[in-house]
Amino acid sequence: MSQINPATLADARPALDSAVSVRNVSKNYGDVQALKNLSLEFPRGELTSLLGPSGCGKTTLLKIIAGLLPQSAGQIEVDGKTVTGPGPDRAFVFQDFALLPWANVLRNVAFGLELRGVAKSEREAIAEKYIREVGLAGFEKKFPHQLSGGMRQRVGLARALSVDAQVLLLDEPFSAVDEQTRRKFQEDLLALVANEKKTFIFVTHSIEEAVYVSDQIAILLPRPSRVSEIIRPTSFRGKGVDNIRRDPEYLDIVDEIWASLRSYVE
C-alpha cells in the first residue's frame, strides 16, 4: 500500500503521463470559497476518484474540468491544451442521466455524435456498437421512461463512450441506481477502464465504491476544498473483481479513509 503526500507526489513519479492536469485552481461563489488553490494530476488510462464529504466541491471541480463552470483562478490542461470550455476531448456522464425523454435509446446514444454533425447512418452504427457494449442490445427502440434507472445510466454511459473522448467525467453516476445494479456497474466499469484505454474521472461519495473502482483516489476536504491526500491502491487491482472486497489492502484503505473523513461528516 502506498500513500503519498501530494507535495511529494510529483517528485516521486515525475515520468507519469498525465491526461488531465489541474493547476492551482480556485473557485469562488461570491464570498464563499468553494475550491482553494487546488492542484491534481490525472494519470492517462487510469480511473481517478474524487472522494469527499458533501460540500467538498468535488462536483464543482469535475464541472470545471468539463468546461461547464469557469474557474476563478488557475488552469486546467487536457493533453497539454488549456481548457476554456466544453470540448470533444471530454465526455460527461450525469448523475440524473440527462437523457432526452422524447428520443429512443438509439438516438440518445447517438446524440453526442448528432450534435457533432456525424451523418445518421454512421452515428447509428457507432451507437449500436456501444449499446451492445453496455449490455443494452435489443433496447434500441425503447424510450427512457420504459427503462429502469440502471438501464438509463447505461444509456448515458454509452452516449459518453460513443463520442470517443479521451477523458470521461462521471458525476456520481451510480448514486441514483439501486445497490445491486450499482455493484454490477462497478464491475463493468473496471472492465471498461481496462478495455477502453481512456482516462476516467469519477466523483463519488461512497468510500467502498471509490476504493473498489479506482487506480487513484483523491480525498478532498471541505471549506475551502483542497486535496488532503492521494491514495494509490497497489496490490488488489489484478486479482479479479470477485476478490477485491475481501482483500486486506482494500479493507485497510476503506477504514483509513473513513477515519480521516469521519470528523467532517455532520
Binding site: 461547464l68 466544453p86 470540448g87 450525469f94 448523475q95 425523454p101 422524447w102 446524440f111 427512457p144 452516449r159
Partner: protein, 250 residues
C-alpha cells in the same frame, strides 16, 4: 363524467344543457333563447348561403394568419426569455402588462397605426393570442433540468441545435398548452377585430343579427364558432396528451 357508477360518453354534459335549452326555448320565456332545434335548423340553412361562407372564409383567413404569427413569434420569444436572464428581465414586464391589458381598448390605436383593413384584424388576433404563448414557452424552458442544459453544452451543441433539439422539445408540453389557450383567446380577438375595425366576416354577421334581434341566426353563428374553437382546442389537447408521457420525466 360518472353518473350512478357508470361512465358516460364524452361530452354528454352538452346533451343535458341542449335538452334544458330546448325546454326553455319552447316555453317561450324570452326572445333571447329560441329552441335549440330551431337554431340548428337555421344553422343548416345558413351554412349553405354565400354570405355565410364568405364570412367564414374571411374570418378563418384572419384567424389562422393571426394565430400563425402568434405561434411563430411567441414560441421563440418565450424560449429565449426562459433561456436568457437578460432578455427575460427586459421583456417580462411588457408581457405581463399586455396579458392583463384590456386589448379591446387598444384596437382604436391599432386602427390609427395600421388602417381599417385585414391587417389590423390580424394584428388584433395576434395580440390576443401571443402573450400566453410566450409565458407558457418561457415557463416550459425554465423548468428544464439544469443537467439537460449542461448535457447539450458538454456535447458541444451549437445555439441553434440547443434551441431546436433540446429546448423546443423539452418545453413542448407547456408550449402546446400555451398554444391551446392562445387559440381560444384568438377566437375572441378575431371577432372583436371584425366588430371594431371593419365590419366583416363573422363580426359583421354578429352585428347584423344582434342589432335586428335575429337570435336564431345569432346563436347559429355562435355555435359554429364554438364548434371550430372546440375542435382545434381538442386537437391540441390530444397532442398535449401525446407528449405528456415525458412531461413528468424531464
Amino acid at each position: 363524467m360518472m353518473l350512478f357508477g357508470r361512465k358516460l360518453p364524452a361530452m354528454s354534459s352538452l346533451l343535458v344543457w341542449a335538452a334544458l335549452w330546448e325546454v326553455v326555448g319552447r316555453m317561450d320565456l324570452t326572445f333571447f333563447v329560441p329552441p335549440i332545434s330551431a337554431v340548428f335548423v337555421t344553422l343548416f340553412g345558413l351554412i349553405q348561403t354565400t354570405p355565410f361562407q364568405n364570412a367564414l372564409g374571411t374570418t378563418a383567413y384572419a384567424f389562422f394568419l393571426g394565430v400563425g404569427f402568434a405561434i411563430v413569434i411567441g414560441i421563440p420569444v418565450g424560449i429565449l426569455m426562459g433561456k436568457t436572464r437578460f432578455l427575460d428581465e427586459l421583456l417580462l414586464p411588457w408581457v405581463n402588462i399586455f396579458i392583463s391589458a384590456p386589448l379591446t381598448a387598444l384596437v382604436p390605436v391599432l386602427m390609427v397605426l395600421f388602417g381599417f383593413g385585414t391587417k389590423t384584424i390580424v394584428i388584433t388576433t395576434t395580440l390576443f393570442a401571443i402573450w400566453i404563448i410566450i409565458l407558457n414557452a418561457r415557463a416550459g424552458v425554465m423548468q428544464i433540468n439544469r443537467s439537460m442544459v449542461e448535457m447539450g453544452r458538454s456535447f458541444g451543441a451549437s445555439p441553434l441545435d440547443a434551441f431546436f433539439k433540446i429546448y423546443l422539445w423539452a418545453a413542448l408540453p407547456e408550449i402546446l398548452g400555451g398554444v391551446r389557450i392562445g387559440i381560444i383567446r384568438a377566437v375572441k380577438g378575431v371577432i372583436i377585430g371584425q366588430l371594431l375595425v371593419s365590419i366583416v366576416g363573422f363580426g359583421a354577421l354578429f352585428e347584423l343579427y344582434s342589432s335586428n334581434f335575429l337570435m336564431k341566426e345569432f346563436w347559429a353563428v355562435l355555435i359554429v364558432l364554438f364548434g371550430l374553437a372546440f375542435t382545434i382546442s381538442e386537437f391540441l389537447g390530444y397532442l398535449e396528451r401525446k407528449v405528456s408521457f415525458y412531461a413528468s420525466a424531464r
